[in-house]
Amino acid sequence: MPTQVIMPQLGESVVEGTVSRWLKQVGDRVEAYEPLLEVSTDKVDTEIPSPADGIILSILIGEGETVERGTVIALIGSADEEITIPMNGTPASAPPETAPAIAHAPALGNGAAYTGHVTPVVARMAAEHRLDLALISGSGRDGRITKKDVEAYLEATPAANPVSAVDPWDQPIEGADLFKPTVDYSASVVAPTHAVPIASVPIVKRADAPIAAGAHADEAGELIKLSPMRRAIAEHMVRSKLQTSPHVTTVFEVDLSAVMAHRAAHKAEFAKQGVHLTLTAYFVAATVTALKTVPMLNAEWRTDGIFIHHEQRIGVAVALDEGLIVPVIKHAGDLNLSGMARAVNDLASRARAKALKPDEVSGGTFTITNHGVSGSLFATPIINQPQVGILGVGVVEKRVKVITDAGGNDMLAIRPCLYVSLTFDHRVVDGAAGDQFLATVKDMLEGWQA
């Protein structure tokens, strides 16, 4: 019996992976724990070791293909072994967890996928929304996928639902006489009737729908295929800003003289311990202090209430060529500046090397994005759900400031300054709390003590 190579679960919420590269080919000998393939998810890229010694008998999932966790992606065995590739949706006699997928067959959704006939409406909806029916579990007789199952799936996965319109029977019509459509919908697609108040009809722009390659063959330009990371970022951004939380941003200016002086004084000392003392470490430290002062920002909105996290886990956004990744500093509340700097160094370098572990990019309770590294003065970043706030750090530049000396005399001074912005979920906190948070950050940074 050949050993099955399974697509692993790479992180808590990660449900699928893309085979980015096979490091061995069919017929190659492989040893247990030897790197076998590379897998990318929306969070991390990682090597998958071989689960057994043997010959690669069969590669079931090709490079570039995305399958669900638990899917059998290759078979390893001895050279004389007979290869049998079980079919998707194997009858109940086979344990579901060992029922592997065949190449090109998409992975199972919840348990066994329905493999029989689909009704015309289900086939049409699947085509319209470009759905993989294997991902939808059926509630009809014998597991048949019904129209309602597809509708429920589309509702649960908005990204799979690029085109939508108000069905005629959902359109309000004046008067009690609901049964008689004023337009023959059998002849045309939905056009809101004159009786429908414009404001009540959600307008869905077709431009929101992904444009298929070759849709505009005569257009000069190029289509960049969506990487898993790009697709995930897009989904998260739309969900956060357009579907989840009302974003409000407040901006403070911070005089960084104290921090600059402290850093200059301690840089060499830190370097001796192998720690590169970056400004980011100060920002994370100030953020932790501010979160302890305003715990409502270290929280998340839940249907039954606002959950306050007792631990500060700070995500720090790191820009990569192909997108953005947010490694998380766990237990940030327990770290001193040295520990903070060490953690920042480590996560940033491994993020750039794409060597982060899946659980290092999840579980944050607050996020910092340092958009100042690319020269930005201030920004209104999008909240990393389900968090409540995100701190934007602008570029540090020398500015002329009016300062007042101990004797009450105003004078001009040149100071290293930056803008910090807090974008927060106005469902959870109001402006005053947001300002209190930034004021704490400002006080901490401006009055930095060793």
Binding site: P120, P168, F179, Y185
Partner: protein, 328 residues
């Protein structure tokens, strides 16, 4: 607004039309002195006299032929066929003459004739007092076929039929004559021919019916809503010819599942045409096979009570068919 029976609404409609238009008259077996075997024309003889409420010989061919001739002479006859089962002797007059006059004369002659006939089973009427004949006539272009299921519709549709410039067959579900009651506005109103009625809005599946079966389907929808949580939409066709295809297709596109109920024999019953239209024009919206619930293909509605109960669809058997379809 008055709560009344189906038969009361029909009588009031004729009474009001006769008062409104002196061209309207009634002829048929026992319509005068007897007031109709179901009392549909009760007291109209006294009110309008023997020239407008005319007892006919026991000859359906001649009842309809007299009606056609009077209609061609610009009168507005209402011919009563005592039971739809007896309409067959008049088939030639209806199909070959009434239906085709307008077309044959290139629009020069028209036949504003209304033929009323009680139809349908469940009244222990046996083979000759229980038939459903609507499918024969719904096959014929040039005719209109109307079947009400509520007193409100009966009055409004019958008035529209009387005023229609073309021959209209008005079939009345006789089991519902006194069993179906409902509110009816006082005074004049019409319900347009060719428009279905949404008897009950629902999301899970569509039940399409007419006449007594529309009434039963509404009851069945209430049963499955209470017992099974199934949200069935019920469409009462009201007019079979011309058929309100838009209402049917809109509902099918909404629910994706259809059950068609009729008490005629299954084979070649009117529901077969409805099923064909849906398959043709809403195929890509179907989430289940189009189902029909109808009477078995036997030569007549049985007289024996138990056999008649078995033969006729009823709220329980419709509810069972709804459950089965909902599960698909």
């Amino acid at each position: 607004m008055t709560v009344m029976t189906l038969i009361d609404a029909i009588r009031i409609a004729m009474d009001e039309e006769m008062a409104r238009d002196p061209r309207v008259f009634i002829t048929g077996e026992d319509v005068g002195l007897r007031g109709g075997v179901f009392r549909a024309t009760q007291s109209l003889l006294e009110k309008y006299g023997a020239t407008r409420v005319i007892d006919s010989p026991l000859a359906e061919l001649s009842i309809v032929a007299v009606g056609i001739g009077a209609a061609l002479a610009e009168l507005r006859p209402i011919c009563e066929i005592q039971f739809a089962d007896f309409i067959h002797p008049a088939f030639n007059q209806i199909v070959n003459e009434a239906a085709r006059f307008y077309y044959r004369s290139n629009g020069q002659w028209r036949v504003p004739l209304t033929i009323r006939a009680p139809y349908g089973g469940g009244v222990a009427g046996g083979l000759y007092h229980s038939q459903s004949v609507e499918a024969f006539f719904a096959h014929v272009p040039g005719l209109k076929v109307v079947i009400p299921s509520t007193p409100y519709d009966a009055k409004g549709l019958l008035k529209s039929a009387v005023r229609d410039p073309n021959p209209v067959l008005f079939f009345e579900p006789k089991k519902g004559y006194r069993a179906i009651k409902g509110e009816v506005p006082d005074g004049d109103y019409t319900v347009p021919l060719g428009e279905a009625r949404l008897a009950r809005a629902g999301r899970d599946l569509t039940v399409i019916a007419y006449g007594m079966m529309a009434h039963y389907s509404e009851k069945a929808a209430e049963i499955v809503a209470t017992e099974n949580g199934i949200d069935a939409e019920v469409i009462d066709l009201r007019t079979l010819l011309p058929l309100d295809k838009a209402a049917i297709l809109t509902s099918v596109k909404k629910t994706g599942k259809v059950l068609i109920v009729y008490e005629d024999n299954l084979t070649m019953g009117f529901g077969a045409e409805v099923a064909a239209i849906i398959a043709d024009e809403a195929f890509e919206h179907l989430d289940a096979p189009i189902k029909r619930l109808a009477a078995p293909d036997v030569p007549g509605v049985p007289y024996a009570h138990a056999m008649q109960e078995f033969y006729m669809p009823n709220p329980q058997s419709i509810a069972a068919a709804i459950r089965d379809l909902a599960e698909y």
